[in-house]
Amino acid sequence: MKNILVEKLSLWQLFILIFIFEIGNAAVVSTGNDANQDAWIAIGLAMVFGMGLALMYYFMLSRLPGKNLFEIFQFCFGKWMGGLLTLLYILYFLYIASRVLRDFCELIVSFIFEETPIEFIAITMVIVIVYMLYLGLEVMGRTSEVFMPYFFSFIIIIGIAVFISGEMEFENLFPILGDGFKPVLKAVFPQLLTFPFGELIAFTMIIPYTSKFKKAKKITLLAVMASGIMLIYNAVLQITTLGVDMRARSNFPLLSSAREISLLEFIERVDLVVVFIVMFGIIIKVSVFFYGALKGLELISNRPYRMYVVPIGAIIAFISVKISDNFAEHIEEGLIVVPLFMHVPFQLLLPLMILPVLLWKTRKSKEGRK
Protein backbone atom coordinates (compact mmCIF):
# COMPACT_ATOMS: atom_id res chain seq x y z
CA MET A 1 0.00 0.00 0.00
CA LYS A 2 2.71 2.45 0.86
CA ASN A 3 4.61 1.51 -2.25
CA ILE A 4 1.80 2.67 -4.46
CA LEU A 5 3.05 6.22 -4.63
CA VAL A 6 6.67 5.43 -5.53
CA GLU A 7 7.64 6.10 -9.14
CA LYS A 8 8.17 2.65 -10.55
CA LEU A 9 7.42 0.97 -13.79
CA SER A 10 6.08 -2.52 -13.89
CA LEU A 11 7.72 -4.99 -16.22
CA TRP A 12 4.70 -5.05 -18.47
CA GLN A 13 4.84 -1.30 -18.76
CA LEU A 14 8.52 -1.47 -19.62
CA PHE A 15 7.74 -4.00 -22.32
CA ILE A 16 5.06 -1.78 -23.80
CA LEU A 17 7.21 1.31 -23.66
CA ILE A 18 10.06 -0.37 -25.50
CA PHE A 19 7.66 -1.89 -28.00
CA ILE A 20 5.97 1.38 -28.85
CA PHE A 21 9.25 3.26 -28.72
CA GLU A 22 10.88 0.98 -31.25
CA ILE A 23 7.96 0.95 -33.62
CA GLY A 24 7.23 4.63 -33.06
CA ASN A 25 8.32 6.43 -36.15
CA ALA A 26 10.29 3.57 -37.63
CA ALA A 27 7.02 2.07 -38.79
CA VAL A 28 6.16 5.17 -40.72
CA VAL A 29 9.24 6.48 -42.44
CA SER A 30 10.75 4.09 -44.93
CA THR A 31 13.59 2.16 -43.40
CA GLY A 32 16.05 -0.20 -44.97
CA ASN A 33 15.54 1.05 -48.50
CA ASP A 34 19.07 0.07 -49.43
CA ALA A 35 18.05 -3.56 -49.21
CA ASN A 36 15.19 -3.17 -51.72
CA GLN A 37 12.79 -6.07 -51.43
CA ASP A 38 14.90 -7.62 -48.72
CA ALA A 39 14.28 -4.76 -46.31
CA TRP A 40 12.52 -7.16 -44.00
CA ILE A 41 15.57 -9.39 -43.86
CA ALA A 42 17.65 -6.36 -43.05
CA ILE A 43 15.30 -5.44 -40.25
CA GLY A 44 15.46 -8.96 -38.88
CA LEU A 45 19.24 -8.85 -38.94
CA ALA A 46 19.29 -5.44 -37.32
CA MET A 47 16.96 -6.79 -34.67
CA VAL A 48 19.46 -9.48 -33.73
CA PHE A 49 22.23 -6.93 -33.46
CA GLY A 50 19.86 -4.64 -31.60
CA MET A 51 19.28 -7.35 -29.04
CA GLY A 52 23.03 -7.52 -28.61
CA LEU A 53 23.15 -3.78 -28.02
CA ALA A 54 20.33 -4.01 -25.50
CA LEU A 55 22.28 -6.73 -23.69
CA MET A 56 25.29 -4.47 -23.52
CA TYR A 57 23.32 -1.60 -22.10
CA TYR A 58 21.73 -3.88 -19.57
CA PHE A 59 25.10 -5.24 -18.60
CA MET A 60 26.36 -1.75 -17.92
CA LEU A 61 23.37 -0.96 -15.76
CA SER A 62 23.58 -4.23 -13.89
CA ARG A 63 27.09 -3.44 -12.68
CA LEU A 64 25.61 -0.72 -10.54
CA PRO A 65 22.01 -1.69 -9.88
CA GLY A 66 19.63 1.19 -9.30
CA LYS A 67 21.80 3.75 -11.03
CA ASN A 68 21.02 5.18 -14.41
CA LEU A 69 23.48 5.88 -17.16
CA PHE A 70 24.35 9.39 -16.03
CA GLU A 71 24.97 8.28 -12.49
CA ILE A 72 27.29 5.66 -13.91
CA PHE A 73 29.19 8.41 -15.71
CA GLN A 74 29.62 10.28 -12.49
CA PHE A 75 30.68 7.10 -10.77
CA CYS A 76 33.28 6.40 -13.42
CA PHE A 77 34.66 9.82 -14.21
CA GLY A 78 33.93 11.90 -11.17
CA LYS A 79 31.66 14.87 -10.94
CA TRP A 80 33.09 17.17 -13.60
CA MET A 81 33.99 14.78 -16.34
CA GLY A 82 30.79 12.85 -15.75
CA GLY A 83 28.81 16.08 -15.78
CA LEU A 84 30.30 17.01 -19.14
CA LEU A 85 29.40 13.64 -20.62
CA THR A 86 25.95 13.97 -19.17
CA LEU A 87 25.53 17.35 -20.81
CA LEU A 88 26.56 15.92 -24.16
CA TYR A 89 24.04 13.14 -23.79
CA ILE A 90 21.35 15.62 -22.77
CA LEU A 91 21.97 17.52 -25.98
CA TYR A 92 21.90 14.29 -27.95
CA PHE A 93 18.61 13.20 -26.40
CA LEU A 94 17.01 16.57 -26.95
CA TYR A 95 18.19 16.68 -30.52
CA ILE A 96 16.80 13.25 -31.29
CA ALA A 97 13.55 14.10 -29.53
CA SER A 98 13.16 17.15 -31.73
CA ARG A 99 14.02 15.14 -34.81
CA VAL A 100 11.41 12.52 -34.03
CA LEU A 101 8.86 15.22 -33.40
CA ARG A 102 9.71 16.80 -36.71
CA ASP A 103 9.06 13.49 -38.47
CA PHE A 104 5.53 13.50 -37.22
CA CYS A 105 4.94 17.18 -37.94
CA GLU A 106 6.09 16.66 -41.51
CA LEU A 107 3.68 13.81 -41.88
CA ILE A 108 0.74 15.82 -40.59
CA VAL A 109 1.59 18.86 -42.63
CA SER A 110 2.14 17.07 -45.88
CA PHE A 111 -0.71 14.60 -45.65
CA ILE A 112 -3.53 16.05 -43.62
CA PHE A 113 -3.24 19.72 -42.88
CA GLU A 114 -1.62 21.27 -45.89
CA GLU A 115 -2.16 24.82 -44.77
CA THR A 116 -1.55 24.52 -41.06
CA PRO A 117 1.85 25.83 -39.99
CA ILE A 118 4.17 23.13 -38.76
CA GLU A 119 4.96 25.20 -35.68
CA PHE A 120 1.43 24.82 -34.47
CA ILE A 121 1.53 21.05 -34.70
CA ALA A 122 4.87 20.98 -32.93
CA ILE A 123 3.66 23.13 -30.08
CA THR A 124 0.43 21.25 -29.53
CA MET A 125 2.29 17.95 -29.50
CA VAL A 126 4.77 19.31 -27.00
CA ILE A 127 1.94 20.47 -24.77
CA VAL A 128 0.67 16.90 -24.58
CA ILE A 129 4.12 15.51 -23.94
CA VAL A 130 4.89 18.09 -21.29
CA TYR A 131 1.64 17.37 -19.54
CA MET A 132 2.38 13.67 -19.49
CA LEU A 133 5.95 14.00 -18.27
CA TYR A 134 4.96 16.51 -15.64
CA LEU A 135 2.72 13.86 -14.17
CA GLY A 136 5.63 11.48 -14.08
CA LEU A 137 7.07 8.27 -15.42
CA GLU A 138 4.29 6.18 -13.98
CA VAL A 139 1.64 8.09 -15.85
CA MET A 140 3.60 7.59 -19.04
CA GLY A 141 3.71 3.86 -18.41
CA ARG A 142 0.03 3.63 -17.69
CA THR A 143 -0.99 5.82 -20.58
CA SER A 144 0.86 3.58 -22.95
CA GLU A 145 -0.85 0.62 -21.32
CA VAL A 146 -4.20 2.10 -22.21
CA PHE A 147 -3.24 2.78 -25.80
CA MET A 148 -1.25 -0.38 -26.38
CA PRO A 149 -4.19 -2.56 -27.49
CA TYR A 150 -5.25 -0.02 -30.09
CA PHE A 151 -1.72 0.61 -31.22
CA PHE A 152 -1.04 -3.08 -31.62
CA SER A 153 -4.32 -4.10 -33.18
CA PHE A 154 -4.41 -1.21 -35.62
CA ILE A 155 -1.08 -2.19 -37.11
CA ILE A 156 -2.22 -5.77 -37.44
CA ILE A 157 -5.62 -4.79 -38.80
CA ILE A 158 -4.13 -2.54 -41.45
CA GLY A 159 -2.25 -5.52 -42.80
CA ILE A 160 -5.28 -7.76 -42.75
CA ALA A 161 -7.47 -5.12 -44.33
CA VAL A 162 -5.00 -4.49 -47.12
CA PHE A 163 -4.79 -8.20 -47.67
CA ILE A 164 -8.55 -8.61 -47.89
CA SER A 165 -8.80 -5.62 -50.17
CA GLY A 166 -6.64 -7.65 -52.53
CA GLU A 167 -3.93 -5.05 -52.85
CA MET A 168 -1.14 -7.27 -51.60
CA GLU A 169 1.12 -8.94 -54.09
CA PHE A 170 3.49 -11.29 -52.43
CA GLU A 171 5.41 -11.58 -55.67
CA ASN A 172 6.90 -8.22 -54.82
CA LEU A 173 8.99 -9.92 -52.16
CA PHE A 174 10.92 -11.92 -54.78
CA PRO A 175 13.70 -12.45 -55.64
CA ILE A 176 14.85 -13.03 -52.10
CA LEU A 177 18.47 -12.00 -51.73
CA GLY A 178 18.70 -11.54 -55.49
CA ASP A 179 21.76 -9.36 -55.18
CA GLY A 180 23.30 -11.25 -52.30
CA PHE A 181 23.91 -10.06 -48.80
CA LYS A 182 25.68 -6.87 -49.67
CA PRO A 183 22.73 -4.47 -49.94
CA VAL A 184 21.21 -5.98 -46.81
CA LEU A 185 24.35 -5.37 -44.81
CA LYS A 186 24.54 -1.90 -46.23
CA ALA A 187 21.05 -1.22 -44.96
CA VAL A 188 21.83 -2.62 -41.53
CA PHE A 189 25.04 -0.68 -40.89
CA PRO A 190 24.73 1.93 -39.73
CA GLN A 191 21.22 3.01 -40.60
CA LEU A 192 18.94 0.25 -39.32
CA LEU A 193 21.10 -0.67 -36.37
CA THR A 194 21.12 2.84 -34.98
CA PHE A 195 17.58 3.64 -35.93
CA PRO A 196 15.46 2.33 -34.36
CA PHE A 197 17.38 -0.30 -32.38
CA GLY A 198 20.34 1.68 -31.15
CA GLU A 199 18.06 4.34 -29.80
CA LEU A 200 17.43 1.97 -26.93
CA ILE A 201 20.22 3.89 -25.20
CA ALA A 202 17.49 6.21 -23.93
CA PHE A 203 16.12 3.33 -21.92
CA THR A 204 19.24 3.24 -19.81
CA MET A 205 17.52 6.12 -18.06
CA ILE A 206 14.34 4.16 -17.46
CA ILE A 207 15.25 0.54 -16.87
CA PRO A 208 16.74 1.30 -13.41
CA TYR A 209 13.28 2.44 -12.29
CA THR A 210 11.52 -0.80 -12.99
CA SER A 211 10.09 -2.65 -10.06
CA LYS A 212 12.01 -5.85 -10.73
CA PHE A 213 15.35 -4.92 -12.15
CA LYS A 214 16.57 -8.48 -12.46
CA LYS A 215 13.80 -9.54 -14.78
CA ALA A 216 14.14 -6.39 -16.85
CA LYS A 217 16.80 -8.04 -19.00
CA LYS A 218 14.50 -10.71 -20.26
CA ILE A 219 11.69 -8.25 -20.80
CA THR A 220 13.91 -5.85 -22.71
CA LEU A 221 15.10 -8.57 -25.04
CA LEU A 222 11.56 -9.83 -25.53
CA ALA A 223 10.33 -6.35 -26.29
CA VAL A 224 13.08 -5.72 -28.81
CA MET A 225 12.25 -9.00 -30.46
CA ALA A 226 8.52 -8.30 -30.51
CA SER A 227 9.02 -4.88 -31.98
CA GLY A 228 11.46 -6.29 -34.52
CA ILE A 229 8.88 -8.83 -35.61
CA MET A 230 6.31 -6.08 -35.85
CA LEU A 231 8.65 -4.01 -37.99
CA ILE A 232 9.28 -6.99 -40.24
CA TYR A 233 5.53 -7.46 -40.59
CA ASN A 234 5.29 -3.81 -41.40
CA ALA A 235 8.00 -3.91 -44.00
CA VAL A 236 6.46 -6.95 -45.65
CA LEU A 237 3.13 -5.17 -45.68
CA GLN A 238 4.60 -2.12 -47.33
CA ILE A 239 6.66 -3.99 -49.89
CA THR A 240 3.84 -6.26 -50.92
CA THR A 241 1.35 -3.44 -51.21
CA LEU A 242 3.42 -0.73 -52.76
CA GLY A 243 6.24 -2.55 -54.44
CA VAL A 244 9.87 -1.71 -53.90
CA ASP A 245 10.02 1.39 -56.07
CA MET A 246 6.90 2.97 -54.76
CA ARG A 247 7.95 2.27 -51.18
CA ALA A 248 11.29 3.90 -51.72
CA ARG A 249 9.64 6.93 -53.26
CA SER A 250 7.03 7.30 -50.51
CA ASN A 251 7.90 9.62 -47.70
CA PHE A 252 5.53 7.72 -45.43
CA PRO A 253 4.98 4.25 -46.88
CA LEU A 254 2.70 2.93 -44.16
CA LEU A 255 0.29 5.74 -44.82
CA SER A 256 0.42 5.08 -48.53
CA SER A 257 -0.29 1.40 -47.97
CA ALA A 258 -3.21 2.16 -45.73
CA ARG A 259 -4.67 4.25 -48.50
CA GLU A 260 -5.13 1.09 -50.52
CA ILE A 261 -7.62 -0.31 -48.08
CA SER A 262 -11.13 -0.54 -49.38
CA LEU A 263 -13.55 -2.88 -47.71
CA LEU A 264 -17.28 -3.17 -48.08
CA GLU A 265 -17.23 0.07 -50.07
CA PHE A 266 -17.34 1.86 -46.76
CA ILE A 267 -14.14 1.17 -44.86
CA GLU A 268 -11.78 3.04 -47.08
CA ARG A 269 -9.46 5.97 -46.75
CA VAL A 270 -8.49 4.96 -43.27
CA ASP A 271 -5.08 6.58 -43.31
CA LEU A 272 -6.01 8.58 -40.26
CA VAL A 273 -5.78 5.39 -38.26
CA VAL A 274 -2.16 5.33 -39.23
CA VAL A 275 -1.77 8.90 -38.08
CA PHE A 276 -3.09 7.76 -34.73
CA ILE A 277 -0.55 4.98 -34.53
CA VAL A 278 2.21 7.34 -35.41
CA MET A 279 1.00 10.03 -33.12
CA PHE A 280 1.05 7.81 -30.10
CA GLY A 281 4.35 6.23 -31.03
CA ILE A 282 5.86 9.66 -31.46
CA ILE A 283 4.55 10.86 -28.14
CA ILE A 284 6.14 7.91 -26.37
CA LYS A 285 9.37 8.19 -28.26
CA VAL A 286 9.80 11.90 -27.66
CA SER A 287 8.81 11.44 -24.04
CA VAL A 288 11.40 8.76 -23.43
CA PHE A 289 14.21 10.86 -24.87
CA PHE A 290 12.87 13.90 -23.11
CA TYR A 291 12.70 12.04 -19.83
CA GLY A 292 16.28 10.94 -20.23
CA ALA A 293 17.40 14.52 -20.75
CA LEU A 294 15.35 15.71 -17.81
CA LYS A 295 16.85 13.11 -15.54
CA GLY A 296 20.26 14.32 -16.61
CA LEU A 297 19.35 17.89 -15.77
CA GLU A 298 18.07 16.71 -12.43
CA LEU A 299 21.39 15.08 -11.75
CA ILE A 300 23.43 18.08 -12.83
CA SER A 301 21.47 20.74 -11.01
CA ASN A 302 20.11 18.84 -8.05
CA ARG A 303 16.60 20.08 -8.62
CA PRO A 304 13.53 17.92 -9.24
CA TYR A 305 13.11 17.33 -12.96
CA ARG A 306 9.53 18.57 -12.99
CA MET A 307 10.85 22.11 -12.85
CA TYR A 308 12.47 21.68 -16.22
CA VAL A 309 9.61 20.07 -18.06
CA VAL A 310 7.97 23.19 -19.38
CA PRO A 311 11.06 25.22 -20.37
CA ILE A 312 12.83 22.31 -22.01
CA GLY A 313 9.58 21.36 -23.75
CA ALA A 314 9.60 24.81 -25.31
CA ILE A 315 13.13 24.18 -26.53
CA ILE A 316 12.12 20.88 -28.12
CA ALA A 317 9.32 22.56 -30.05
CA PHE A 318 11.71 25.28 -31.12
CA ILE A 319 14.49 22.99 -32.25
CA SER A 320 12.14 20.59 -33.99
CA VAL A 321 11.15 23.33 -36.39
CA LYS A 322 14.53 24.98 -36.69
CA ILE A 323 16.30 21.67 -37.16
CA SER A 324 16.00 22.01 -40.88
CA ASP A 325 14.61 24.40 -43.39
CA ASN A 326 12.86 21.95 -45.62
CA PHE A 327 11.97 18.34 -45.94
CA ALA A 328 14.96 17.45 -48.04
CA GLU A 329 17.35 18.78 -45.46
CA HIS A 330 15.50 16.94 -42.75
CA ILE A 331 15.79 13.64 -44.57
CA GLU A 332 19.36 14.13 -45.68
CA GLU A 333 20.44 15.04 -42.21
CA GLY A 334 18.56 12.10 -40.82
CA LEU A 335 20.07 9.61 -43.23
CA ILE A 336 23.63 10.81 -43.53
CA VAL A 337 24.71 13.20 -40.82
CA VAL A 338 22.88 12.03 -37.77
CA PRO A 339 23.79 8.32 -37.87
CA LEU A 340 27.41 9.17 -38.42
CA PHE A 341 27.94 12.04 -36.01
CA MET A 342 25.33 11.37 -33.39
CA HIS A 343 24.03 7.82 -33.33
CA VAL A 344 27.27 5.94 -33.77
CA PRO A 345 29.30 7.83 -31.17
CA PHE A 346 26.56 8.11 -28.59
CA GLN A 347 25.05 4.69 -29.01
CA LEU A 348 28.11 2.62 -29.68
CA LEU A 349 31.46 4.29 -29.18
CA LEU A 350 30.94 6.08 -25.88
CA PRO A 351 29.26 3.15 -24.13
CA LEU A 352 32.02 0.88 -25.43
CA MET A 353 34.61 3.28 -24.06
CA ILE A 354 32.90 3.52 -20.73
CA LEU A 355 32.46 -0.19 -20.33
CA PRO A 356 36.08 -1.08 -19.45
CA VAL A 357 36.32 1.80 -16.99
CA LEU A 358 33.12 0.70 -15.39
CA LEU A 359 34.24 -2.89 -15.21
CA TRP A 360 37.53 -1.92 -13.68
CA LYS A 361 35.98 0.36 -11.12
CA THR A 362 33.24 -1.97 -10.07
CA ARG A 363 35.64 -4.89 -9.78
CA LYS A 364 37.79 -2.84 -7.51
CA SER A 365 34.94 -1.79 -5.33
CA LYS A 366 33.61 -5.29 -5.12
CA GLU A 367 36.96 -6.64 -4.07
CA GLY A 368 37.29 -3.88 -1.56
CA ARG A 369 34.03 -4.87 -0.03
CA LYS A 370 35.15 -8.39 0.36
Binding site: I90, V126, R303, P311, I312, V321, K322
Partner: protein, 76 residues
Protein backbone atom coordinates in the same frame (compact mmCIF):
# COMPACT_ATOMS: atom_id res chain seq x y z
CA UNK B 1 19.29 27.57 -12.08
CA UNK B 2 16.39 26.55 -14.26
CA UNK B 3 16.65 29.75 -16.24
CA UNK B 4 20.37 29.36 -16.60
CA UNK B 5 20.15 25.78 -17.79
CA UNK B 6 17.31 26.72 -20.08
CA UNK B 7 19.39 29.39 -21.77
CA UNK B 8 22.45 27.21 -21.85
CA UNK B 9 20.68 24.27 -23.43
CA UNK B 10 18.93 26.49 -25.91
CA UNK B 11 22.27 27.95 -26.98
CA UNK B 12 23.92 24.56 -27.13
CA UNK B 13 21.17 23.03 -29.24
CA UNK B 14 21.23 25.94 -31.62
CA UNK B 15 24.94 25.30 -31.78
CA UNK B 16 24.36 21.67 -32.68
CA UNK B 17 21.97 22.40 -35.51
CA UNK B 18 24.21 25.16 -36.76
CA UNK B 19 27.05 22.68 -36.90
CA UNK B 20 25.04 20.31 -39.03
CA UNK B 21 23.90 23.10 -41.27
CA UNK B 22 27.47 24.17 -41.76
CA UNK B 23 28.36 20.64 -42.74
CA UNK B 24 25.51 20.40 -45.24
CA UNK B 25 25.19 23.84 -46.75
CA UNK B 26 28.65 25.30 -47.14
CA UNK B 27 27.52 28.77 -46.26
CA UNK B 28 29.11 31.20 -43.88
CA UNK B 29 28.72 30.63 -40.20
CA UNK B 30 27.07 34.00 -39.73
CA UNK B 31 24.32 33.50 -42.26
CA UNK B 32 23.43 30.12 -40.81
CA UNK B 33 23.44 31.43 -37.29
CA UNK B 34 21.23 34.24 -38.45
CA UNK B 35 18.76 31.79 -39.96
CA UNK B 36 18.79 29.62 -36.87
CA UNK B 37 18.37 32.31 -34.28
CA UNK B 38 16.06 34.79 -35.93
CA UNK B 39 13.08 34.29 -38.11
CA UNK B 40 11.80 35.82 -41.25
CA UNK B 41 8.56 37.63 -41.46
CA UNK B 42 5.86 35.80 -43.29
CA UNK B 43 6.47 32.52 -41.55
CA UNK B 44 4.55 31.40 -38.52
CA UNK B 45 7.69 30.91 -36.54
CA UNK B 46 6.69 33.70 -34.19
CA UNK B 47 4.73 31.05 -32.33
CA UNK B 48 7.94 29.33 -31.42
CA UNK B 49 9.35 32.48 -29.95
CA UNK B 50 6.24 33.10 -27.91
CA UNK B 51 6.62 29.56 -26.75
CA UNK B 52 10.25 30.08 -25.82
CA UNK B 53 9.44 33.26 -23.95
CA UNK B 54 6.80 31.40 -22.04
CA UNK B 55 9.33 28.72 -21.15
CA UNK B 56 11.82 31.35 -20.08
CA UNK B 57 9.40 33.12 -17.79
CA UNK B 58 8.20 29.86 -16.41
CA UNK B 59 11.80 29.05 -15.55
CA UNK B 60 12.24 32.40 -13.86
CA UNK B 61 9.11 31.97 -11.77
CA UNK B 62 10.13 28.47 -10.77
CA UNK B 63 13.56 29.71 -9.78
CA UNK B 64 12.13 32.55 -7.78
CA UNK B 65 9.72 30.33 -5.92
CA UNK B 66 12.38 27.74 -5.29
CA UNK B 67 14.71 30.29 -3.79
CA UNK B 68 11.96 31.73 -1.65
CA UNK B 69 10.91 28.39 -0.30
CA UNK B 70 14.54 27.56 0.42
CA UNK B 71 14.97 30.77 2.35
CA UNK B 72 11.81 30.31 4.32
CA UNK B 73 12.73 26.75 5.16
CA UNK B 74 16.13 27.90 6.30
CA UNK B 75 14.79 30.68 8.48
CA UNK B 76 12.21 28.49 10.10
Amino acid sequence: MVTFLFTFILMASIGVITMFDLYLYEETLLSILDANIFFEKGTSQWMLYVNLLFGFFYGMVVDYRFRKSKKSSKSS
